[in-house]
Symmetry: C2
Subunit: 205 residues, 2 copies
Amino acid sequence: MSEKRHKDKEAFRREILDAAREMFSVDGYGNFSMRKLARRIGYSPTTIYLYFRDKDEILFCLCEELYAELYRVVLDIEQEGAGLLETLRKVLLTYVSFALAHPEHYRVAFFTNPSVYGSPADFLQNDTMSRRTYLHYRDLVAECCSAGVLCSMEAETLAQVLWTGVHGVVSAALHTRDFPLVDPSVLAEVMVEGLLNGFTFRRSV
Amino acid sequence: MSEKRHKDKEAFRREILDAAREMFSVDGYGNFSMRKLARRIGYSPTTIYLYFRDKDEILFCLCEELYAELYRVVLDIEQEGAGLLETLRKVLLTYVSFALAHPEHYRVAFFTNPSVYGSPADFLQNDTMSRRTYLHYRDLVAECCSAGVLCSMEAETLAQVLWTGVHGVVSAALHTRDFPLVDPSVLAEVMVEGLLNGFTFRRSV
DNA sequence: GGTCTTAACTTAACGCTGTTAAGTTTCTCT
DNA sequence: AGAGAAACTTAACAGCGTTAAGTTAAGACC
């Protein structure tokens, strides 16, 4: 069987990840398995375990790839140099279209959740693309608060509320096959407009 | 083995569902399986298939139970007789605490998703507790719009945006073990306040 | 009471799953 | 050429949802 032996461990890791990523995109998370992945790359299932501790590590790597791409997208938006609030709006809306463009990856990152990043404390200690992206986003919201374009409140809370809003749209879009959901991009637009509007002025009561 | 033979099919169905519900609450969705359920009720796995077509049907029944309870909760809130907007606010906030009080059921209903209600068309045709609850909620939002306490826009869209907002909070709370999430009840309160505030006044831009 | 039918239930199996211990092959280095 | 390490596989464990076929028990009819 064994046609090739791999000297370059890193290259083979990447090959496995590429195959896994495509399997996700094409067949979805539900149809992904270590055995199928092995068949796909032409090796026995056990070989994969020489390059990845377990299935979760593969999922973790795919998540990190996703966050890395998202991070780049966010940086691109910021460098367009629009106003703070406009930038935030674009980031939130782009987040949704980005997520809907990578539905299976989003599933892995947010809905399979065998705690790939460890504990919340681990998350904040280790330098991952996930953490980087989040902190960067949070700082953007904080800037909006201190610049007065959003009402002043704890930035962490506000950032998470805005995020859970768009995350909710994505979540509904991904997990809804039997419900007559309004077009997610419309929901996203109304959601972002509503939230930003709601936090722009002083809150009533 | 067989100590008992069941004359009352419906009673046995309920017995199975009760066991399933408790298994979900205690061990979580991930640790639920037909075989464990069978062991739990003291029968062979195949017996369950005499009372339920497959695993999905059990999930469907559990979902319906959940929606039935949620429906009752919503009715209770409405009968408190507060103002329209105040009622809507309470419904949204109660939705979150209800969901967080039944995390494993919520998981089944919204995140496992092998399309238990069929197609969106099926959802609207068949009289399920899920549909009943949704339509009732949508009507409440529509009332708010026509009474002028919320800005006038398509009620369906607005209803779904408000829902995806609180759903996002629940989704984040349930799928977050490795992220330092702000207290979900705080997020829910800020979310609802922000959204209702955002849709109360005329939207800017 | 004896037979017949049917409903209730089980056994055994199929083809999956993630993972591991142990065994084999191949390469590299001395 | 021989030793050691690296690469890879075979075979297995214990689990999963589901089904075809077989068994047991209860009720109906003569």
